[in-house]
């Protein structure tokens, strides 16, 4: 049973439909990232879970209880804001204690209970030495830790994180990614994380929900999303892809098909497409650069696919990999990757053989 259910959520701002018929279930204890370009509705979705925006229609259910119309202060979820939103008039301890002091009735905590919870939180984020500092006196990374401690202190059912690492520099961001992930594992809490940074999403998430223009494009693990994109948008958005048009020339019984780009022919397996193909159909093919193998033309062995030949037009050094731009017999230009451990295998103007596995394409009609 999922801990949170978003059921047919619609959100309009005036006539702008920013979230369209969103259905999403979040499992207890999972790290779910909502990923998408800016303006895709991901932050609005998070804000509807937090209670800062109310859905125009649809229901949000937390642990079986309909919370769609509850104000934020009545929801058992807490948020880590993008700019941290620490209270400048309170020191670190008072910031963390703020939520604990709001509890009423049976949940009301005594001063010593509040203090011990604050201590626990400070220890969790290793900020014991900074307890009496004001937020303004902390670095970005330290403020980040306090914002997390403050949100976790209330022991929320779900922790919402709105691009929490956006303001940090690259190195600190990488470090905090690892810390956040290990914190999530340790606390066994449900994290819903919003980001536009796909690397961040791929690194940290158990599952990723990809949104575009208010639509949920795909929900799946990093692997599923990377290797089996459900829509052309996902294929294009995640990682780098070669995209080209081809025509189906022959369909086999096992669902595999022969494709042609002009004179060039290749096979795709049945796993590469979800809808059945027809002969003569125009299709779009996505192919990861790292799936393309380049080899010297004479040494080609045609295992799965016959080799195609192309001319190297450009070589770009990008650090850990080298990018080859290969012109495939005047039809399309493909990008292939090679690690930079050794010297470059080829040089500009070389004619090379290209091979890839029939499973590695993603085909969309």
């Amino acid at each position: 049973m999922p801990i949170l259910n978003l059921d047919s959520i619609e959100k309009y701002y005036g006539s702008a439909n920013v979230v369209k018929n969103l259905n999403l279930s979040i499992e207890a204890g999972e790290f779910l990232t909502i990923l998408g370009p800016s303006g895709c509705g991901k932050t609005t979705t998070l804000r509807m879970i937090g209670g800062f925006e109310l859905p125009t229609s649809g229901t949000i259910t937390l642990k079986g209880e309909d919370i769609s119309q509850l104000p934020p202060y009545k929801r058992h979820v807490n948020t880590v804001f993008q700019n941290y939103a620490l209270f400048p008039n309170m020191n670190v301890e008072q910031n963390i204690a703020f939520g604990l002091k709001q509890k009423k009735g049976l949940e009301k905590m005594s001063a010593s209970q509040v203090q011990s919870r604050v201590d626990e939180m400070l220890a969790m984020v290793q900020m014991n030495d900074f307890r009496s500092r004001k937020p303004q006196e902390l670095s970005g990374g330290q403020q980040q830790r306090i914002a997390i401690a403050r949100a976790v202190a209330n022991n929320p059912e779900i922790l919402l994180l709105d691009e929490p690492l956006g303001a940090l520099d690259l190195k600190l961001r990488k470090q905090m990614q690892i810390e956040l992930k290990s914190l999530q594992k340790r606390l066994q809490k449900t994290f819903v994380y919003v980001t536009h940074d796909q690397e961040e999403a791929l690194t940290m998430s158990d599952r990723i929900a990809i949104m575009n223009q208010g639509n949920l494009e795909q929900v799946g693990t990093s692997n599923e999303i990377y290797y089996h994109p459900a829509t052309p948008f996902v294929a294009e958005f995640i990682g780098e892809s070669n995209r080209f048009e081809a025509v189906t020339t022959k369909i086999q019984h096992d669902g595999s098909a022969r494709m042609s780009i002009g004179e060039v022919g290749f096979y795709v397996s049945g796993k590469t497409h979800t809808v059945p193909l027809r002969e003569g159909q125009k299709i779009t093919v996505f192919l990861r650069p790292e799936a393309i193998k380049l080899s010297a033309l004479e040494a080609t062995n045609t295992s799965n696919n016959e080799a195609m030949s192309g001319t190297i037009e450009e070589i770009i050094f990008v650090g850990s990999t080298r990018k080859y731009l290969v012109n495939l017999q005047g039809q399309v230009r493909l990008t292939a990757l090679e690690t930079t451990l050794g010297a470059a295998q080829f040089s500009i103007g070389d004619t090379v053989a290209l091979t890839w596995s029939a499973d590695d394409c993603s085909v969309f009609v």
């Binding site: 937090g50 209670g51 800062f52 104000p71 934020p72 202060y73 807490n78 948020t79 804001f81 993008q82 700019n83 939103a85 620490l86 209270f87 400048p88 008039n89 703020f98 939520g99 709001q102 509890k103 403050r150 949100a151 209330n154």
Partner: protein, 257 residues
């Protein structure tokens, strides 16, 4: 070179134009004579003593302080939540309300004064210090709204949301997060209100009954000629105002950080 002499010379002229009369009054206030004459032959604190024993002047100071404090406090109590609402909520005609609230500042005091003079007795408010206070509140509200609206606009909206997120009701969030974070702007606005109320003549003039406020009392004394006592009281008012303005400037600069 010539240009520098010209610019610094004109700056000096402007400053002299503004402050020379004030300095003259301060200087004359220490004169022992009963008429302002130049050069001053003997210096003394005589007129400060006279001032300290002038009962009607002291009563006027007390009236002014009462009016200033009461109207400032009420203007803040009404003005702070009103400004917050004006800042936070979108409603039809919001822009117009923002402008209308500011009207009492731009409207000539004499118009407001005459209007209130004819309006107040009809609603049962007799001409008195209470009427003066209500009159002051109308334009002090405009001061509070302008001062605080710009501060609210610079306040991170996420702070309020973070308070709600952590379980604070809107009321608690208002008092524990919002008010403390605009505290310096509130104090600055309060000081400005005090100074403006202490100094107000046109509205006060129409609404006053028996008890004079300080500016009205001084105005009355002036009709009997410029006495050195007026110099003394003016000097004290000037000093008090400068101190308050410096504090309020400091505070508003601190809020900008």
């Amino acid at each position: 070179m010539l240009r520098r002499i010209f610019t610094s010379g004109s700056a000096a002229l402007v400053l002299a134009f503004i402050y020379l009369p004030l300095l003259t009054i301060i200087w004359y206030s220490f004169s022992a004579e009963s008429v302002n004459s130049f050069p001053i032959k003997a210096y003394s604190l005589e007129w400060y003593k006279v001032m300290a024993n002038d009962d009607s002047l002291l009563r006027a100071v007390a009236s002014s302080l009462r009016v200033a404090f009461a109207s400032t406090v009420i203007a803040l109590i009404i003005g702070i939540p009103a400004t917050f609402a004006l800042h936070k909520f979108e409603f039809p005609g919001k822009r117009m309300v923002e402008r209308i609230v500011l009207m009492p500042i731009t409207l000539p005091g004499i118009v407001t004064g005459v209007a209130m003079l004819s309006f107040f007795p009809r609603i049962g408010v007799e001409l008195s210090l209470v009427a003066v206070g209500i009159g002051h509140i109308t334009f002090l509200l405009a001061i509070v709204v302008t001062q605080l609206l710009s501060r609210f606009k610079r306040l991170d909206p996420n702070l309020e949301q973070a308070a709600y997120d952590l379980g604070a009701t809107p009321l608690r969030a208002f008092f524990t997060v919002i008010i403390p974070n605009i505290r310096t702007a509130i104090i600055g606005a309060a000081l400005l209100c005090l100074v403006l109320s202490m100094d107000e003549i046109p509205v006060t003039f129409f609404l006053i009954a028996r008890d004079n406020t300080l500016p009205i009392e001084i105005y009355g004394m002036m009709r009997r000629g410029i006495t050195p006592e007026v110099n003394a009281i003016s000097t004290l008012i000037f000093l008090a105002t400068v101190v308050i303005l410096i504090i309020s400037q400091r505070l508003s600069r601190k809020t900008n950080d």
